[in-house]
Amino acid sequence: MKHLIPEFERMKARFPAGFDSSLVLPCLHRIQADRGFVADEDIVGLCEYLKVPRIQVEEVLSYYTMLRREGIGKTHLQVCRNIACSMRGAEDVIEHACKRLGVKPGQTTADGKFTLSTVECLGSCGTAPVLMVNDAYHENMTLEKLDALIAGLS
């Protein structure tokens, strides 16, 4: 985490003075992008850097669904299962992905290539069903598109 401090300094410069505590979330995002998850040593370093109590960072990390304390597979497949996506076939997409990858939602394939998750509405209901492949939205998903996607990433 220490090597990211110059970047954090640039982020800080954009915030009003006295907003150090606000940097908790952006810094955690950045750390996770760097390491794939947030490790204990990152938390300790961040608390020291921002002068915020450890418990504040722990609460934030435990609260938000996008933040992780442990690593996951190389590709993170997140399938929306909220209302509009379910009405457009998300349940089939999830079932198919489970079968194709041999895992249940929340699990990682044995080869560490894929982690499959289900998520709530991604704000893309007009192009349902929606699937996130790492950071990118893949919209109007079909079973055929999903097969091609997985094949391309395997």
Binding site: V24, S86, L122, C125, G126, T127
Partner: protein
């Protein structure tokens, strides 16, 4: 096209979101006009326009601004709410992706009116392209000298920070959003104090939805009087409606208030998917009560028409549901969502959401009892107006809305241990 357009009034091209294209459409000219006005006159104009908030509650934007008394030297903040968490809603995303400079210009004007030096765009963490687009627009604005230092020809300067969420529905609630920006667990807060009195870091803060703000530039450019010529007397202007579900042409539509609802669905949106029959519609995000097709037949898309029918246009997240869809399963999906998103702070919502979720799961598992329906009602009522933020109420509205109209499906499942509708949510050809 469902009426006149104020926001989606340009052709989307691969470059239409850039500063150059925005300028070519007259972008940032209104800012110059605004900076020539007294700040209080801008608020007056916005109040006169009758603009209603597009975040869900349709609260008059001018009235919210009116609470902020810009005192020179005092700190005020502005946050654009781009959390877009209400299931069924995806219209702010359109603005962020295609008209980011409209938001930036509007935020400049708003900040000038409210004495704001630092503004935030709070965007949900999952949004990737929308994030890159709005951050890109802000970077362009910095490079062009519109942000970060006094706007040429004035002594007004503004900084805008894009703040990314990390997966949480309550961060869309204004006070949860603020606590999130403070870097803490995003617990919503009790009112009083109002956020316009004590908001971000205890300073007066205005939070408006992205679409509400995007309207500001137009209002100042054309003047309140012209703006009011669009829409109806009680619902001035337009609303971006994101429509999804069993509809032929889902997507974002800008609808002039007062437009026929049936016509919108049948013509503009191409009618039902696979020519199915329509069962009901969620008008404005899942927290608004469902209306059946007969109920909406003669309604127009305006607050004065939809509210008396016992629902609301909310966030404009319209979900169309075809005949044959299982409402028990549908409610199950909603209750799972509310349970997942309750922040857990206040008793009725923390305990109630989990309880309702367990009840509906039990019904679907064939272990329901007739009493369960009354229990769902009771829990919903016990969340009505008793919680810290609107989330508890919202879950209650959604539940009561569905139970009121489709009670028979619940009774059927409890009595027969299976769906009256084959448990389908999908509408197959």
């Amino acid at each position: 096209m469902p009426g006149r357009q104020l926001i989606m009034n340009f052709e989307v091209t691969p470059a239409s979101h850039t500063l150059a294209d925005y300028r070519a459409r007259g972008g940032y000219e209104t800012l110059v006009k605004a900076l020539g006005m007294a700040p209080a006159d801008i608020t007056k104009e916005v109040t006169a326009s009758g603009l209603l908030g597009h975040g869900g509650a349709a609260f008059p934007v001018g009235r919210k601004w009116g609470v902020m008394k810009p005192n020179p030297g005092e700190i005020h903040y502005l946050c654009a709410n781009a959390d877009e968490g209400e299931p069924g809603t995806f219209k702010d995303r359109w603005i962020l992706e295609h008209a980011p400079h409209l938001l930036v210009e509007s935020m400049l004007i708003t900040s000038y009116a409210l004495g704001v030096r630092h503004a935030f765009v709070y965007i949900r963490g999952e949004f990737d392209l929308p994030y890159r687009r709005i951050q890109g627009a802000i970077d362009e604005a910095y490079a062009a000298g519109l942000l970060g230092k006094p706007v040429p020809g004035s002594d007004f300067a503004l900084d805008i920070v894009v703040y990314r969420g990390a997966g949480s529905y309550v961060c869309g609630e204004a006070s949860g959003l603020i606590t999130s920006i403070e870097g803490r667990k995003p617990y919503p807060r009790n009112r009083p104090p109002r956020l316009t009195v004590k908001g971000l870091f205890q300073k007066p803060t205005v939070i408006n939805n992205v679409e509400s703000l995007a309207n500001i530039t137009g209002i100042i450019r054309m003047g309140a009087e012209e703006f009011r010529k669009v829409g109806t007397a009680k619902s001035p202007g337009t609303q971006l409606i994101s429509i999804s579900g069993h509809i032929a042409k889902p997507g974002v539509y800008e609808v002039e208030y007062g437009y026929s609802w049936a016509k919108f669905l049948d013509e503009d949106c191409g009618g039902m998917l696979h020519g199915a029959k329509m069962k009901c519609v969620v008008p404005g995000g899942i927290s608004t009560k469902v209306l059946t097709r007969p109920e909406i037949e003669n309604l127009t898309l305006s607050h004065e028409s939809v509210n008396p029918a016992g629902s609301g246009l909310g966030s404009g997240g319209m979900i169309v549901i075809a005949e044959g869809t299982c409402m028990v399963r549908l409610l199950q999906v909603l209750l799972r969502f509310y349970h997942h998103e309750s922040c857990g702070q206040c008793t009725p919502c923390r305990e109630g959401m989990g309880w309702m979720h367990r009840i509906i799961d039990r019904i679907v598992a064939g272990e329901g009892v007739p009493d369960d329906i009354e229990r769902l009602y009771a829990i919903s009522h016990a969340n009505d107006g008793t919680t810290i933020c609107g989330m508890g109420d919202a879950a209650g509205f959604a539940t009561v809305g569905i139970l009121n109209k489709f009670r028979d499906e619940f009774e059927y499942w409890i009595a027969n241990k299976r769906s009256k509708m084959d448990g389908r949510l999908e509408c197959r050809a």
